[in-house]
Point group: none
Chain length 430, copies 2
């Protein structure tokens, strides 16, 4: 079953709002084992909406169209569907009554336009509204189908789960397709996309092999993909197709283990999280597990590390606070950095140790460097020094040379410093 | 000139990442007077990418394709373009050299896969990379064109402005589409979209009037639009169409003046910037003009305000630094906040004054509040107190009640605090 998503609305084409519905639907369809090969967005224009529908029907088995079901004159999805189906629109009295009551019960006057939402293409069935006024539609075209839902995200989501998914499952069962697709993302920091691809080439070859006996998994049922995510590192996505959710999850578990081993052997401990787990979530878990607190002293990153850390729910259990020591005098006064060059390893060490004292933390992270575009103290942009003060051992340091503009040097510096902390906590067995 | 945007990547179809590139490009194309009637997203599959290209070429004058230019085996945009053009790919030695040097200069080993990025369809011209390794492509097909750029947003954006937009403008000039469309965005903080629309209804009526004599401007040549931009406020976009850039700019200047007056009269000083000028840039300009320095004490926002400020080039001239006082003990020790409730107006005042002393700044901004989801000290989530210590006057305070989750409360809190500072500097005539 191949479903194409068509998002309707000129505001999408103009970039005035981002199309989050299509991403949500894509995720939901994939989890249900429904394939989606194409998405389209199209403006509020009758001719172009029907062209988008015809294009989609030619290359997919069905369409979910979001948007254009509202009461105003530029909401023309109903008309376009009727046109493609080759049928008339008829006004449905039960919806007229519902809409009239909806306005009446809220004490609002209803403009006549609102009744356009009661127009239904002949042959379509309704997905009743439970939140707003525009019902959804299930419109058969031979063996194919157009589902229409409102563009308001929470109305769309509710109607998809209640009205579309059960209908899709029925169609898939009829067609003998009952597979589930599940995926999991491993998040890494510190390797290049090509380095990861090389480390995992062996796994990819095994998964691609036609010989099912090599690994007991049918060829093509598990796949790996790489997603470069800029300042958040590189993601490795494992996708599995199986007959049931339990089988799919078992395939993911097995492949995750194999991928982690292959990465660990060739690239070390670079996997910091799964799915939505950010670097700060990984750091938080390590700190919380050890019952230790953190303070950060930031020059280069100017508060960026602290602001990422406080976004982890429950941060107050392990995060004490920090000093943004942008001017050198603040480094000297609040952190006890010795007067001298402040873009240096020695300054990073003093910042890390100083912020432990200043905030009363067990662990201190200090970062200084040059964001650019100009040199500072004769040091080139992208040069970064990180200090990490841990109880009972000498303060660790790391010198980095990062690419990019001001903003990227800061972002890379922040995640690199957090990764240093994460790895030190794990490797030093604190 | 009708340009279709085609986003390539299975992760888009699966909803693992939202397609922000298409929205960004849609906005940029609209500002340049380029029409975009359709967007598509397609997965990493040769047959389906070529089908998407052929579909787009049949209904548009050109394509901007984002993504699939990386080094891995599932990056196949180059091959698909060559297929649709009916030409071969040839390896470009100048790109081979650049990629080799890119890895060499970073001391990283280069896998052979990376050289796939040097493959160019015969007849295409290059948009050189300045950030990563994959160049962009301009691929002519008769009178139509395919532009290919990487999917990494900042690389895509940079390449669009530098490589695609000038080429598009040339093609439009050749096609006799020489009307210039220019736009300018006024950025506001503190009003609702409907409030702004009401304040500007008079202007909209004048602009829509068919009677050109009313304002000397042809009807429809200047338009206003409102863009709700969440944590960055509401934007008012003025768009003007004219025969020349000079005429367009004159129309914008005139309309900007009228819009500012209408807003000022009804809503006060809520316009803080133009186009890309963020709130921190506005604050920086006021501080720099007065030659005074700033320190910030953050609890609720955890470093977010400081990290926004340091992203303004030249921040070291006026930003001293700050204290992230997340734990109450840090507020007491480093900022001299009196022991007692720390989510209070009194604490915000003490933080603002304390950070002036601690960092040696002329002006101190303090912010405390509850991000949620739980109450703190009996204070509800979304409650925020801001203190502003200015030389020679009593410390100002502001109490806010902000909507949204943790992240949004922090973001709204940060921009609200900066806006308080901006307005105080202007209104108190410091």
């Amino acid at each position: 079953m191949r479903i194409e998503i068509v998002a309707v609305g000129t505001e999408l084409l103009l970039g005035q709002i981002a199309d989050t519905n299509s991403a949500w639907l894509g995720d939901r369809l994939a989890s249900a084992g429904v394939t989606s090969h194409f998405h389209q967005a199209v403006g509020d224009n009758h001719e172009r909406i029907t062209l988008a529908f015809r294009t989609a029907l030619a290359r997919s088995d069905g369409i979910i169209v979001c948007g254009g079901l509202g009461p105003t004159q530029d909401d023309i999805t109903r008309e376009a569907i009727a046109d493609v189906m080759g049928v008339e629109l008829v006004r449905d009295q039960s919806i007229v009554d519902l809409i009239t009551e909806f306005f009446g019960s809220r004490g609002r006057t209803m403009s006549a336009n609102n009744l356009r939402q009661a127009d239904v293409p002949v042959g379509a069935t309704l997905i009743p509204q439970v939140m707003g006024t525009a019902p959804g539609l299930i419109c058969p075209l031979g063996h194919k189908v157009i589902y229409a839902v409102p563009g308001v995200p929470h109305e769309m989501a509710e109607m998809f789960d209640r009205g579309i998914l059960p209908d899709l499952r029925e169609r898939m069962a009829e067609a003998g397709e009952e597979a589930v697709i599940v995926s999991r993302v491993l998040r890494t920091w510190g390797a290049s996309e090509s380095g990861l691809a090389e480390a995992l080439q062996g796994r990819i070859d095994v998964l691609d092999a036609d010989d099912d006996d090599a690994d007991g998994v049918p060829a093509g049922s598990v796949t790996l993909a790489f997603l470069a995510s800029g300042i958040e590192g590189i993601k490795v996505r494992i996708t599995a197709r199986a007959a049931t959710l339990a089988e799919g999850t078992a395939l993911l578990d097995r492949e995750e283990k194999a991928v982690r081993e292959a990465i660990e052997i060739q690239l070390g401990d670079i996997v910091f999280g799964i799915d939505d787990e950010s670097m700060e979530v990984a750091v938080a878990a390590e700190l919380r597990a050890r019952g230790i607190t953190l303070g950060v002293a930031e020059s280069l990153t100017g508060g960026l590390i602290a602001s990422r850390l406080v976004n982890v729910p429950g941060a107050s259990a392990w995060f004490r606070g920090g000093v943004v020591a942008y001017h050198e005098q603040v480094k000297f006064d609040l952190l006890g950095v010795p007067v001298g060059p402040v873009v240096s390893e020695a300054a990073a060490v003093a910042m890390a140790e100083g912020v432990c004292r200043a905030t009363g933390s067990d662990v201190g992270l200090g970062i200084t460097g040059v964001a650019g575009p100009e040199d500072q103290e004769g040091v080139a942009p992208g040069s970064v020094f990180v200090g990490l003060a841990l109880p009972g051992v000498a303060t660790l340091t790391s010198e980095l040379h990062l690419p990019g503009d001001r903003e990227r040097v800061r972002q890379y510096g922040a995640i690199s410093a957090l990764d240093l902390l994460r790895r030190a906590l794990i490797e030093l067995e604190f």
